[in-house]
């Protein structure tokens, strides 16, 4: 399954990655190389195999539904590029 430049642009949009026009062509080539190599998996017979979802089967322990953490607003905001009034601040999203 080969990808073309418009697919690469679409995936970059999904991944929220801004691509310069000059980056699209080489990235398309690289991705096709890697995807072409990965394609060998299609030859493996996986007819009745269930997909693996956990490395080691384990059952989670239950705990009481109570607050164990919190009141750390300063910590949460400590690394924010911009914060105001105890919130993260971002560019305006509502016109």
């Amino acid at each position: 399954m080969a990808v073309d430049e418009s697919m690469v642009a679409r995936v970059a949009g999904l991944a929220r990655l801004q691509l310069a026009a000059a980056e699209v062509e080489p990235l398309t080539r690289e991705l096709n190389n890697i995807l072409g190599w990965i394609d060998q998996l299609q030859a493996v017979d996986t007819g009745t195999v269930e997909p693996m979802t956990a490395v080691i089967p384990l059952t989670r322990e239950w705990r009481k539904d109570e607050v164990t953490d919190g009141d750390i607003q300063q910590d949460v905001l400590a690394n924010a590029p911009q914060s105001a009034h105890g919130f993260f601040a971002v560019p305006k999203v509502i016109e």
Binding site: A15, L17, Q18, L31, I72
Partner: protein, 492 residues
């Protein structure tokens, strides 16, 4: 007396207990070694004040007879572990200046056991790489050089700062993380030992996520005993990690005997790849002889889906990475690039374009593609099915044997820049390490010999789930017979 930096971790412990030197003296000597080795670029942050204050606390604990397992031992911490108040970047520009307000479980356990942190170690950006060349803060240079050559070599990756620092005698041991081989391959490249325990043995809490179903913390150290000591201190159940295993942690170092009588060691025939390096093949045969000498029975086993492991990995790992790395959007931490007059979406895209390096972008793109509508079944679901087959291969092999013995990496260390132009050539470094990662098994690399150019080669032992003790003990038996004593001669 020999330099304190030349001692193994176990020898340091003995010297501290016998009061031959203080933790402060031990740590101070390592701080000076770190400063003198800056040309290796192994450390992103040096924390001598923290190390000395931890050393003083260890000296007080030693005097009071209350010393923990690692009291006064100078360690390096891979910069994927969050350390409270100390910059943690995962070698990415997108996390420049990030100072966690919390401590990872693993580092908390190590410090609780009395260890001293010399600093944070360089790695491939977000642990994505096999040579430490994708770091946004420059590559790490291996302390090793080929015979008669001054060409800079890679220390392996992604734990390349960890491997270089331990091999250059800058710290007694270093934490690492292993997603597809990131502890074992760098250990092999630099002539040291490294163990990745069973998935879930060490908590991932506070470890910056790459591929969550594969990431596992572990340790790189000079020898098997030292790995055993640190692994014991860092392992254990953590309710803050939902995949943490609630199983007792053995006293690993105390269980090392090296007697393999009654053990069956499997040699997977699929690991004999075409064109295998002659030195490596000979070393693998020697490893088989050493195991026999130690009393093990050798059996040939088959892992039929070995060849499919790497392509499987390069679907699963990027898919999980694309999801995990979605959090770097310029809102809560790290870099923000907000184009003038741009929208929130513009800020996300510009921040991520500026903050991530080429390899990270490549993997985010692959991961996003294989998870996207219309391709999910063909790629991601298919890979999870093949992963189940790979895991089943190991389970079947372990019906016929107790441990597997293989080479760690297909070659010795290569030159800086030798493989950066070809991603797939770089990925092939992990051909022997990725299968155990996909199955979540404990696996270890020990230094076992040298190439004809005088560069280290490693052998890998893979065990059943939770059998770190068996892996360590077999590694201990092989280590004694290999008698690997080579060390890089100091040029820095």
């Amino acid at each position: 007396m020999a330099a304190l930096t030349d001692l193994t971790l176990a020898q340091m412990k003995a010297g501290l207990a016998a009061k031959q030197f203080s933790a402060r003296e031990l740590v101070q000597e390592h701080i000076e070694a770190v400063e003198a080795a800056r040309v290796l670029n192994a450390w992103l942050v040096e924390t001598p004040e923290i190390a000395l204050s931890q050393a003083d606390a260890a000296d007080r604990a030693l005097a009071a007879g209350e010393a923990g397992l690692l009291a006064g031992i100078p360690l390096g911490i891979k910069d994927l572990f969050c350390t409270k108040g100390v910059e943690t970047t995962a070698s990415s520009k997108i996390l420049k200046g990030f100072k966690p307000t919390y401590e990872s479980t693993v580092t908390e356990k190590l410090f609780g056991a009395g260890a001293a942190m010399l600093g944070k170690l360089n790695l491939d950006e977000f642990a994505m790489g096999s040579s430490n060349e994708t770091s946004a803060y420059g590559p790490v240079i291996s302390p090793w050089r080929a015979n008669g050559s001054e060409q800079p070599l890679v220390p392996g990756g992604s734990s390349g700062g960890s491997s270089a620092a331990v091999a250059a005698r800058l710290c007694a041991a270093a934490t690492g993380t292993d997603t597809g081989g990131s502890i074992r391959q760098p250990a092999a490249f630099t002539g040291i030992a490294g163990i990745k325990p069973t998935y879930g043995r060490c908590s991932r809490w506070g470890v910056i996520a790459f591929a969550s179903s594969l990431d596992q913390p572990g340790v790189l150290a000079r020898d098997v005993t030292d790995c055993a000591l640190v692994l014991e201190a860092m392992s254990g159940y953590d309710p803050k990690d939902s995949t943490s295993l609630n199983a007792p942690v053995p006293h690993y170092a105390g269980g090392l005997g090296g007697d393999l009588r009654g053990k069956r060691i499997g040699i997977p025939k699929e690991y004999r790849v075409d064109g295998m390096d002659a030195d490596l093949e000979a070393l693998w045969r020697k490893g088989v002889d050493w195991a026999k000498e130690a009393g093990a029975e050798i059996v040939e086993v088959s892992l039929p889906h070995t060849r499919e492991a790497l392509p499987t990995y390069y679907i699963v790992a990027p898919a999980e990475a694309s999801s995990n790395l979605a959090r770097y959007d310029g809102v809560r931490y790290g870099l923000r690039v907000a184009p003038e007059g741009g929208s929130l979406a513009d800020m996300y895209a510009a921040t991520r374009a500026e903050g991530f390096g080429a390899e990270v972008k490549r993997r985010i793109m692959i991961g996003t593609y294989v998870l996207s509508a219309g391709y999910y079944d063909a790629y991601y679901l298919k890979a999870q099915k093949v992963r189940a087959l790979i895991s089943r291969d190991f389970a079947q092999a372990f019906e016929a044997c107790d441990l597997l013995l293989t080479p760690t990496a297909p070659t010795g260390a290569f030159g800086l820049g030798a493989k950066t132009a070809d991603p797939i050539a770089m990925y092939l470094n992990d051909v022997f390490t990725v299968p155990a990662s996909l199955a979540g098994l404990p696996a270890m690399s020990i230094p076992a010999g040298l190439t004809s150019d005088g560069l280290p080669l490693g052998l890998q032992l893979i065990g059943r789930p939770l059998d770190e003790m068996g892996v360590l003990d077999a590694a201990f038996a092989l280590e004694r017979r290999a008698g690997f004593a080579a060390a890089p001669s100091r040029w820095w």
